[in-house]
């Protein structure tokens, strides 16, 4: 076992002496977190909307005023800003042209008889035309216009959406989680994957090419000691990167995991670390098995890119699994990153205990055992 520690120590020393490698395993996922996390999931604000007003009574004035003041906040309820920027357009045709050219995202058409109808206690229809070539804006703007309209008069019917007299009371089970928080667990897993590919696998292929592995074999080191050393160093390196990223994310992007805030929870921290450990050992095992059987470093690098992308995007790291087509869901079921992301998300934002993530642990453990076994077999045969 001393031999395994020596092999591990070499890898760790090399990792520490190659700051570029070390940083690249942290900075890549960190950029993904900051850029993707900030670009996506933010509230749509100041969306330009054309208002074609043909009725000039109190109801229509009130509607326009409400729309003007309708605020949209990020999911966390911070930095609220006006959702819409209203542009008065005298003519429906002109408004449609503006929608077509992308000058406005939507048209609110207030019909000539609106004030009269509402004053008479009747119902009337306001047509809201949405630019649904931009599905995300459409999804955000549509409901907000409806909400604003209905607060003016229950008699207003926005086109295509019928109102009922039932009141729906929404309650939130947890605090609001920002999109950047939602996607953070995936980036931690990503940093582990980066270490597995770059600092684990690539180094192994290069060592093989340079004859360092053969150099091991003329010493009394046993093959199992070499593979254990490689796996152990991989786990240490990836935990280092994942934890560094975690700290960076908490410090710089305002992510607030329950295991740390408001008070640190040792159980939560231990479970989080254990999830990261299992994920690291499984992914390192997988990439080691692959690397040791790879014949060239270039081929290895090129093939790792699609492997990484597939695992990341089908893990539910950046979008809910529910929103995926069936074929992606099927990949996600056998994707270890899915279980890692799920467990981390529950631990970070729901503060759950072991029982809630037991399934994730069972899958990750099985995957890890399988991959470590595969790595050992590949090492025996590949060298």
């Amino acid at each position: 076992m001393k031999g395994a520690l020596a092999v591990c120590w070499r890898d760790v020393l090399k990792f520490a002496r190659q700051p570029i490698v070390m940083v690249s395993t942290i900075i890549g996922p960190f950029l993904t977190l900051v850029l993707l996390g900030s670009a996506f999931g933010g509230a749509i604000t100041l969306a330009p909307i054309a208002v074609v007003r043909e009725s000039y009574g109190p109801y229509s004035s009130s509607l326009i005023e409400t729309l003007r003041n309708e605020q949209s906040c990020q999911l966390g309820g911070i930095n609220c800003q006006n959702s819409f920027r209203l542009i008065d357009v005298p003519d429906l045709d002109v408004a449609q042209q503006m929608l077509h050219t992308g000058t406005v995202r939507a048209i609110v058409h207030i019909p000539r008889d609106l004030d009269d109808s509402l004053a008479a206690g009747a119902k009337d229809v306001i047509t809201v035309t949405l630019d649904n070539t931009d599905p995300l804006s459409t999804a955000a703007i549509g409901p907000e216009i409806v909400q604003a309209s209905q607060s003016v008069s229950p008699g207003i019917q926005t086109f295509g959406i019928s109102t009922s007299n039932a009141t729906i009371n929404l309650e939130f089970a947890y605090r609001n989680v920002l999109y950047i928080e939602f996607m953070a667990p995936g980036t931690f897993v990503q940093s582990i994957m980066f270490v597995s590919i770059i600092a684990g696998g690539v180094q192994l292929v290069v060592d093989k090419e340079r004859g360092i592995i053969e150099g091991y074999l003329v010493t009394p080191l046993k093959k199992h000691e070499i593979v254990i050393g490689v796996l152990l160093s991989g786990v240490l390196k990836s935990l280092f990167s994942a934890v560094a990223l975690f700290i960076l994310a908490v410090a710089l992007t305002g992510i607030r995991p329950l295991s740390i805030f408001p008070t640190p929870d040792p159980v939560g921290i231990i479970l989080t670390m254990f999830t990261l450990f299992l994920t690291a050992l499984g992914l390192i095992g997988m990439m080691t098995a692959y690397a040791v059987r790879s014949t060239s470093a270039d081929l290895y690098r090129v093939t790792c890119f699609p492997i990484n992308l597939t695992l990341y995007y089908t893990s539910g790291a950046i979008y809910p699994l529910d929103g995926m087509p069936q074929w992606m869901k099927e990949i996600s079921v056998i994707n270890p990153e899915t279980y890692a992301v799920h467990a981390l998300r529950l631990l970070m934002y729901k503060g759950v205990g072991l029982e809630a993530i037991a399934t994730d642990f069972i899958f990750l453990s099985a995957f890890t055992v399988l991959m470590v076994a595969l790595a050992i077999v590949a090492f025996r045969r590949g060298l």
Partner: protein, 293 residues
């Protein structure tokens, strides 16, 4: 490898041969990386097939391509090797300090190896293989890619290691001067077989007649070549770029004869020189081609 039979004593032993002759393959078998398909060998008293573990503990290996970790210092590189051999820390540190002094790297021991010259790297690699005090040290092309000065230094240290530490050295090389100056005995390997075996001087003596004439031509005709090949004072002829290398019985008598024959057969000589035998000539004699081919 083709059924070779060889005994290496406590000596500096050279494996000489052209690229692809099988030197490295032979060495890789002896250091237990490759298993022989048949037969076996005993290295440092242990069988390479049945007792590979024991062999590994008793040998040191310096491979052709560098396996140093250039991001790490000399001290760290050596320390890791000591750890692979399970040498206790205090013993390790003492031995490493001593060895680094031997090859003149003590004052640079703590800087990353990436800042070393080619010769320094080689020296470090050689002493790294000595951390566990092996009985046999295998060196595969130890001076390849070094400039003459660095080569000389490396060879100097290799010699000293043999003399001071009493280690058996097995060196593969394709440098003739290296083999000649360094090795007590040599095996010339070609096509996986040993084609000649003996001391450098002894091998040269085996080449009967034993003089070499180098003739450069401005005009070399086929007739000249044919006539020379038929002459009884010529033992062997080898064509090379711009001239001929001719192995003759007696150099002093042969030169005027060659000059006469060339003249009378329409050839024109530029230079003709008589020189001493080298191992290349030995190789030429046993294989019919040059080591450089």
């Amino acid at each position: 490898m083709d059924h070779l039979d060889l005994e290496i004593k406590h000596e500096v032993f050279g494996l000489l041969g052209p690229n692809g002759a099988g030197k490295t393959t032979l060495q890789r078998m002896l250091v237990t990386v490759l298993s022989p398909t048949e037969g076996t060998a005993t290295v440092a008293g242990a069988d390479i097939v049945r007792e590979a573990d024991k062999v590994r503990e008793r040998i040191g290996v310096v491979t052709q391509a560098s396996t140093l970790d250039i991001e790490l210092s000399a001290l760290e590189n050596m320390n890791l090797y000591g750890m692979y051999y399970g040498i206790p820390r205090s013993q390790r540190q003492e031995k490493i300090a001593e060895l680094l002094k031997v090859v003149g790297l003590a004052d640079r021991a703590k800087i990353p190896v990436s800042g070393y010259s080619g010769g320094m790297k080689r020296r470090l690699e050689i002493v790294r293989a000595l951390v566990h005090e092996p009985q046999v040290l295998f060196l595969d092309e130890p001076t390849t890619g070094l400039d003459p000065q660095a080569r000389a230094a490396v060879l100097e240290y290799v010699k000293r290691i043999h003399e001071d530490h009493g280690i058996t050295l097995v060196i593969t090389t394709h440098y003739l001067d290296e083999a000649e100056n360094l090795c007590d005995r040599l095996a010339i390997v070609d096509h996986g077989k040993i084609v000649a075996l003996g001391t450098p001087a002894g091998l040269k003596r085996e080449v009967t007649g034993g003089d070499i004439v180098e003739a450069d031509f401005s005009t070399l005709t086929d007739t000249v070549l044919k006539v020379l090949e038929k002459s009884d004072f010529v033992l062997k002829i080898k064509k090379r770029d711009g001239g001929l290398t001719i192995l003759v019985k007696n150099g002093a008598e042969a030169v005027p004869k060659i000059v006469g024959l060339v003249d009378s057969n329409g050839g024109r000589l530029r230079t003709i020189t008589l020189r001493e035998l080298t191992l290349d000539d030995v190789f030429l004699n046993v294989t019919g081609r040059s080591l450089r081919d």
